[in-house]
Subunit: 151 residues, 2 copies
């Protein structure tokens, strides 16, 4: 029942972009990587995926960065999960190729889990990336404090 | 969002016991292992766990087997999942020891996921192991057809 790190990080990227959208300088991959302690290579794949979905645009060079193309109040968490969680096969019988269960087609578990998953997503379809943001986005917007380590 | 094999197999054991409870001979671990193609060692751990919960009793020797102690219409799927799914930490911030997210305590994702998970479990709290059984339990009760492999 755990969500993937891919989902977790994707939501953080979207929130970061939403919280900083009024800034003159759009956030860069480096900034988000540092702020959320996510590896740059992981983050680059997420940014490429979000760009392909048309939710963000990523520009290079001076003044470049990542900007939301789709408003944060129009991206629901349910929509994000449907894109990022590839495994909504709750149990073996959801996957025709892998299924070995002898009760398939007569057991009613699949229907029950499908309904439960639908109710789960219904809640998240009612929550947007904009809703997730704290009332003050200071924690996201402000520069990171550098820690100095004494020798 | 996938359930563990532990949950999948636990539900199959409970369903198998429920479907065969009117039989004179209670099902054995060997029978359930063969019927559902689950390893005996995996199954033994599940049976020990279900015994510890007081849901089944397992007796050895001639005439022994596994019997439900708690009626199948009083065991909900939600209750099973709460016992078998150890990881309801949907994202990193659910786990205080592992959490590195800088938005913790201000971000509203945790609340949204907690509510969604509650709605998911609400559905499964309304479904019992007895509800999962097909109207005819023939597929569970009848002996397996042996396959003969030609040399």
């Amino acid at each position: 029942m755990r969500l993937t790190k891919w989902t977790d990080y994707t939501l953080r990227v979207l929130m970061h972009c939403a919280a900083t959208q009024r800034r003159a300088q759009a956030p860069t991959i480096g900034e988000i990587a540092e702020r959320h302690d996510i590896s740059r290579s992981h983050l680059m794949k997420i940014v490429m995926t979000l760009s392909a979905l048309g939710w963000i645009e990523s520009t290079r060079g001076r003044g470049g960065g990542i900007r939301l193309l789709k408003p944060a109040d129009q991206i629901t968490v349910g929509e994000v999960l449907r894109e990022t969680e590839t495994d909504f096969h709750m149990v073996e019988c959801f996957d025709d190729d892998m299924n070995t269960c002898r009760l398939d087609r007569v057991c009613k578990l699949k229907d029950a889990l499908q309904e439960a998953t639908q109710r789960y997503l219904d809640v998240l379809d009612g929550v947007t990336v904009a809703d997730l943001l704290p009332s003050s986005t200071r924690l996201i917007e402000q520069p990171l404090k550098r820690m100095t380590v004494k020798a």
